[in-house]
Symmetry: C2
Subunit: 223 residues, 2 copies
């Protein structure tokens, strides 16, 4: 029982979901957790700010060690609990290189996704431009095609034949773009990857609770 760990999280947030999946994969159940509401601005509460001064979720702690950056938390958990649960960092140098490359470059995918999905939330009305919206969408489409190609080249998982840290980190973002209406026919490898991993225990158990209750959006359907 991971009683010396605390996770403050928000439903549907890819960075939060990554940490939840990593904890499941490492058999670290029973940690202290609290589901907070972005709508109610609970990510700006004192409880979060004390752990994460940027006022973002996740806010994660093992003992007194704070790890708010989700990839950092996942790599740390694998490093500290290497022999427990599923091994997430491959021993084989070729697979390990691919795993680190995809894990870290997923932050680029995340950024490009956020530039599209959160545009009206992040950019004040007076600074919005249709030309920027169009460019951001094209940039995201190009990026997603790159990942479609990665799965074509390796597969079934991102670093090859074994589930790894790259999948822990990237899967929530892939699920997010489909939640926002990405067309399964136009991105068949990403769609197959998304659907096949839905039933993996670490992912199924941590599926965003709000997604089970509400409809997604069709924002990305023409991408």
């Amino acid at each position: 029982m991971a009683k010396d760990m605390t996770l403050l999280w928000g439903s549907g947030s890819p960075p939060c979901w990554r940490v939840q999946i990593a904890l499941e994969e490492k058999n670290l159940q029973g940690y202290n957790q609290k589901l907070l509401s972005f709508e109610k601005m609970e990510h700006k509460s004192k409880e979060v700010m004390d752990m994460n001064p940027r006022g973002q979720l996740p806010a994660f702690k093992h003992k007194t060690y704070v790890l708010n950056e989700s990839c950092a938390a996942c790599i740390y958990l694998e490093s500290q609990f290497k022999s427990q649960g599923n091994q997430l960092i491959p021993d084989c140098p070729a697979e390990q290189a691919l795993m680190y490359q995809h894990t870290l470059e997923s932050l680029t995918l995340n950024q490009k996704m956020a530039d599209v999905i959160y545009y009206t939330w992040k950019v004040p009305e007076a600074e919005r431009h249709d030309s920027a919206v169009k460019r951001n969408r094209e940039t995201l489409s190009t990026e997603l095609k790159l990942w479609e190609g990665y799965l074509q080249a390796s597969g079934p998982f991102l670093a090859g034949k074994n589930f790894s840290l790259a999948d822990v980190v990237v899967y929530p973002t892939i699920a997010y773009v489909f939640r926002f209406g990405l067309c399964e026919e136009r991105y068949p490898k990403l769609a197959a990857y998304y659907n096949s991993l839905k039933s993996r225990p670490s992912i199924k158990t941590t599926w965003p609770p709000t997604w089970l209750e509400t409809q997604g959006s069709d924002m990305l359907k023409d991408l």
Copy 2:
């Protein structure tokens, strides 16, 4: 001699510089390298695109394993050459947690820096707003104060008493903001960190060659 490694890089680019520092720290000299010019758009050349389809530098390869994402390359090098050169991932869990946290959250610092320094380069003229410039500068200032606080709390290095991967990854960005005129008096811990590490062999050897020949800018002097 690291003859099975190739690095295509650009002078002054923090992501490129990180990989160069990591290679020095791990005693991996003698790798194949090529200095390319951003001004001449050489980062969009076929040679780069073949290794890095986003057309960005660095483009780094060990044997046939491509690692373009700079943090991924640094973590991989430490993992593969653990017992060679300087140890960059601390054994102590507390230091390791701090190291991973700072290493990964530095991508946030880098993004906020890029939003200010590359604004006119990244945003088409018709989409520029003084309000966005002002907000981006305030955001960067807040972020830099966070890092000033980190060094106040730990020090002399980012993860405590030992030089680590966090320093490899973050130092080039800190050097970059001072190159762009950040006021040493207003950020005394960052300035002391910047100045004290200038003479570290891995950093001195890899100092951006263009920086030795040309003046920096004063873009950040009022930040």
